[in-house]
Symmetry: C2
Subunit: 225 residues, 2 copies
């Protein structure tokens, strides 16, 4: 049996998998989705496809594997040039989008990891850092409907997972990070982003994700892998 | 007095500044270099140009600032399309180069920071991690003269700083990470990379860098900023 042209190895509740699914859907690319039972096991095929970081998502295009969600998004836009334009066309706008995506991943995601997996003072410090990151991040949104302007693009996809997962994290650990006091523009964008048809059509079930979030938090607090 | 078209804010011994200088030089772009006295002070102009991360290097092109060395390199290649081609043309090769550059920055640079700034068990663990990273990284070099193939390109520039700075770090902390036993291909590439004219012409003085490395290590061990 021939492989499908495009296969995506992911995990149903993984924000980084969703980034890639959103990009594929925006381009109208058909793909076969393979779900991995992360964090409990990884298939031999995944380990063969991404022996370096062993992480999902992995996109396989004509048998060739690609890893790192933001790298995959750029690849998708460069390979399927027709249709929806994901990367900004102007080199300066493109550089700014890449800068902010890196800032969000380096600073925001790292802080959120500590917010989610720690308690007490360490957690509180991470909450403050995260609030600062979100406040800073919304500068890139000033005067615009989406980070990409009138329509979503790369930066919306890169940080779009906050819109769905951040309220779940806030609820799970009982803190507030993106609110009208701290980051009103970002909070309003959360709502607009989740209303985009393609985005809305590729989200995990809210209840199931919320439930898994609570289970995962307890696992991490108990130092489970 | 009118600003030069291209200005680069950097620090003379900063590997990330050198990345950008190499790219500018490969393209034959003239620029004004502004040295910052990091880590002891940052100019008001730098803080105005990069208020988000406050880090060098910052490239200013026609008055517009750009930060993050790898983002700047992509911008340079996309803006000055003529001359030396820095980014791979094939989307898959490009994605692979971006993947490895990210892997090196996420894993290698982080390990090296601990090798350089810690002692005892923490340092030893970081040395082992770094050795593993370098061993993995040289997979991307198999059968090739440079990471870019016959000529240097993006990935060579991204990890090129290891070729000059890693032996200095090894010497400063008295450990070996890239050697014939662990990463022979990478070690041989160190020599070839440093022999490329453009690279060689933009390196800080070896003795001064080595001396500064020892001073900096002692500062970090004493918890100086």
């Amino acid at each position: 049996m021939a492989d499908k042209e495009v296969r995506l190895f992911g995990m149903w509740a993984s924000p980084f998998t969703k980034r890639v699914e959103w990009a594929l859907k925006l381009k109208g690319i058909e793909y076969e989705y393979v779900n991995e039972s992360i964090p409990f096991s990884k298939s031999e095929e995944l380990l063969r496809l991404n022996p370096v970081t062993k992480k999902i998502p992995v996109l396989v295009h004509n048998g060739k594997p690609l890893a790192e969600s933001l790298v995959i998004i750029e690849y998708i836009d460069e390979t399927w040039k027709e249709g929806y334009s994901i990367m900004p066309k102007d080199p300066y706008d493109l550089a700014q989008a890449r800068f902010w995506a890196k800032f969000a991943d380096d600073k925001g995601t790292m802080s959120l990891l500590h917010v989610f997996s720690k308690e007490g003072e360490v957690q509180q410090k991470a909450v403050e850092e995260a609030r600062e990151v979100f406040k800073t991040l919304e500068q890139a949104l000033e005067g615009k409907k989406f980070f990409g302007g009138d329509c979503i693009n790369y930066l919306d996809l890169a940080i779009g997972w906050y819109a769905f997962w951040l309220p779940i994290i806030e609820e799970t650990v009982n803190v507030s990070m993106v609110d009208d006091a701290n980051a009103p523009l970002l909070k309003a964008w959360f709502g607009r982003f989740l209303e985009v048809d393609v985005i809305k059509s590729i989200l995990p079930p809210r209840d199931k994700t919320s439930e898994m979030s609570k289970i995962r938090r307890n696992q991490l607090l108990s130092n489970m892998p």
